[in-house]
Amino acid sequence: MRFVTSLLRFVAIDGVLVTATLILAITFAVHLVFALMPAPVSEQYVVEVAGLEDTTAVGSVEEQLRAAFERDAFALWIGHDRDGRADVTARLLGQAMREDAERLTDRRTEGVVDTPDVIASYGDWLGSVLRFDLGTSRSGLSLVDELKEKAPLTFKLSLAAYLAAIFAAASIALTRAFRPRDRIVQIGHYSTYLITALPAFVLGYVFIAVFHLDVSERPGLLLAIITLTFSSGILNEVERVIHHQLSEELRANYIKTARSKGLSSRAVLPVPGAVAFHAFRQAAVQFLPRLAQRVPMVVGMAILVEKVFVLPGLGDMLIDGLAYRDEPRVLAVVLIAILIVRLCELLTRGGKLLLDPRALSAGG
């Protein structure tokens, strides 16, 4: 019963309360950033209304322009060409609107931002989020549908790479702890420095070249996961942290007792009946919280890998959202990124709690 209560408390406080606070704080900051953005009304953005056959927008052009104008009064965007052939297809609807837009631009440039407006519009957004409606992007697509399509990819990529990196690091660390003089293990250890230093795009390009992958036709999810595993920047640190904790545990008295009782001290694999099992389990209690801190790095680097392997994930959405100043889209990406990070963190910390019931009894 006490176990269940503690678990519920952990989920309620860490899982819900802290996550909700973080989401509120960060999304409000992003909303404020958009409120402070100066308007991009200038020659390169403003194209007179003419020749509308190019547009890919849904609905009539007039409707699109009006809807866009209502959402963001200083610039009108009616979709874009992803290949960058005509990346700016913004049009201003008539001279009257242009004047309105410039007036608003001047207000924003002078730093006059209506605080009630910022808070009220944030409140509106928050209200719609609570109704599971993230709004629509500038091109008129439902963001919930877009996220359903793109977020799972980033989540799969990040989680798989994160687990694979921990597995690889733990393998090297375990072998290094038990066979410190093994040449191959030493080479493995030092190669983590080099691999970690390789930016994701360098390694990604090398993989694409070596495996003759045509990313435009066949996205290489497996190669993307391998790339992110190696170049998310955590492999080296995780390996050193695990090795350090293992070494500490192997010097403890209970390990001496276990050895004297006949447990195998040569076996590297942490399976029951071996010293490695007990040492690794105790070490995990110490190193898991540190691994949880590294989750944001993996999720962040995932957008890089998505770009290299042309995978339609959150990175794609974020870059497009920023490029076209599509606030609902950026907020949706930020929201989901925070949720992914928190979920991975909570899973890691949950693993610690399962290994160490004392921490659970103490309230996490």
Partner: protein, 387 residues
């Protein structure tokens, strides 16, 4: 250890990586130039490149070598300190404009030759000039990030370690980590790019400062995201040493608490670990910097257009991609990639080398083992501790 030596040693450790990475390059280039002995006759582009390499890399390092041999520590460290500043500030002065102009008569990428040490790109622009320009921006970003990490990280750590309410401040700072750095930096940079453009349009900043301003913004952003590890280290240090007898003795003998924390804990007992962590974080900052550089140049529309120039962007050109995919014009990919990877490896290896060096000296003096050893492992720790 003598106080001034300790202080200057601290500064030297912070700038150690540049020496580790750039010394071999500089020495090799200088030796090659000396052996050839006919600098100016190789044409204006090469001469410009060679002069720039000599000025930026070789001269300070030769002076540093002389200074170290004659045990002029302050001079050596001042020169090391000046090096990134020189690269940052004087880069455009010592790389004359012609280096940026296409080599007339060149219609395709040229392989490395005596005329162009790292070859040229498809427009005939010298790769060496492009790489040095990229390095300049990258190091401005890393130096700025490092300054933010040291100043705010140490201050935040002291506040957290000293005051009860400090942990709330730290929690707020740490909450920034929840949003992955690359996501956050893209948003920050999008805002910054519009503001910089606006300021430029209104004539509030001069055109030649915009590049530096953008690098500064990126550096500040990356630094802000990496502050919390440093703050955690300093806070842990203070928590650890507050339980020690000599700190109790200092406080009971009337030494003010702020002096105990800043002098006895942070300065006398934590600077080695701060230096090691700072070196590691500098490597991480460089990794993020090149990642951002890559994202900016491939981001669609206005986001990436001219906002930020980095070494990584040399790898995002269609030519560079073609180079790696078809093993054609390999120098377009290999030269920048080697510069990037060697710099990042240099930083992270230097941090560990530094840790080993400090452990050896502290073990020889019989000091307590570093707290960092308990936070971050290395094979040398046990030998040093028990030795």
């Amino acid at each position: 250890m003598d106080e001034s030596k300790r202080f200057w040693g601290f500064l030297a450790f912070l700038f150690w990586p540049w020496m580790v990475v750039l010394t071999p390059i500089a020495v090799t280039v200088v030796l090659v130039l000396r052996m050839m002995g006919r600098l100016e006759s190789w044409g204006p582009w090469y001469a410009a490149g060679a002069r720039c390499v000599f000025l930026i890399l070789a001269a300070p390092f030769l002076l540093i070598d002389v200074a170290v041999r004659s045990r002029q520590w302050k001079l050596a460290i001042a020169l090391i300190l000046l090096l990134p500043v020189m690269i940052a500030c004087l880069g455009s002065l010592v790389i004359p404009e012609p280096s940026w102009q296409p080599d007339r008569g060149v219609t395709s990428a040229q392989a490395p030759s005596l005329h162009h040490l790292f070859g040229t790109n498809g427009d005939g622009v010298d790769m060496l000039a492009l790489i040095i320009h990229g390095c300049r921006n990258s190091y401005v970003v890393v130096t700025t990030a490092l300054a933010v990490i040291l100043i705010f990280g140490i201050a935040l750590g002291v506040v957290t370690g000293r005051y009860r309410w400090g942990r709330y401040v730290q929690a707020i700072a740490a909450s920034l980590d929840t949003l992955p750095l690359l996501f956050g930096m893209m948003i920050v940079a999008a805002l910054a790019s519009l503001w910089v453009g606006k300021l430029l349009q209104q004539g509030l900043i001069a055109a030649q400062w915009q590049s530096s301003l953008r690098s500064l913004i990126i550096g500040l952003g990356i630094g802000a995201w990496l502050v919390s590890p440093m703050a955690n280290l300093v806070a842990d240090k203070i928590a650890f040493f507050r339980r020690q007898d000599f700190i109790d003795a200092s406080i009971s003998s009337g030494v003010p608490l702020s002096r105990v924390i800043w002098y006895h804990v942070v300065y006398r007992n934590a600077f080695a670990e701060i230096a090691i962590l700072a070196t590691h974080l500098a490597g991480l900052a460089l990794l993020f910097e090149v990642s951002l550089g890559y994202l900016f140049s491939i981001g669609t529309a206005q986001l990436g257009r001219g906002f930020y120039h980095s070494l990584a962007q040399l790898l995002t050109t269609p030519e560079a991609k073609q180079a790696v995919l078809f093993f054609d014009s390999w120098w377009l990919f290999v030269a920048p990639a080697v510069f990037i990877v060697s710099a990042i490896v240099g930083f992270s290896m230097a941090g560990d080398g530094l840790g080993g060096l400090i452990r050896t000296t502290s073990a020889a003096r019989g000091d307590t083992p570093l707290l960092f050893d308990r936070l971050l492992d290395d094979t040398g720790s046990r030998e040093a501790t028990h030795g």
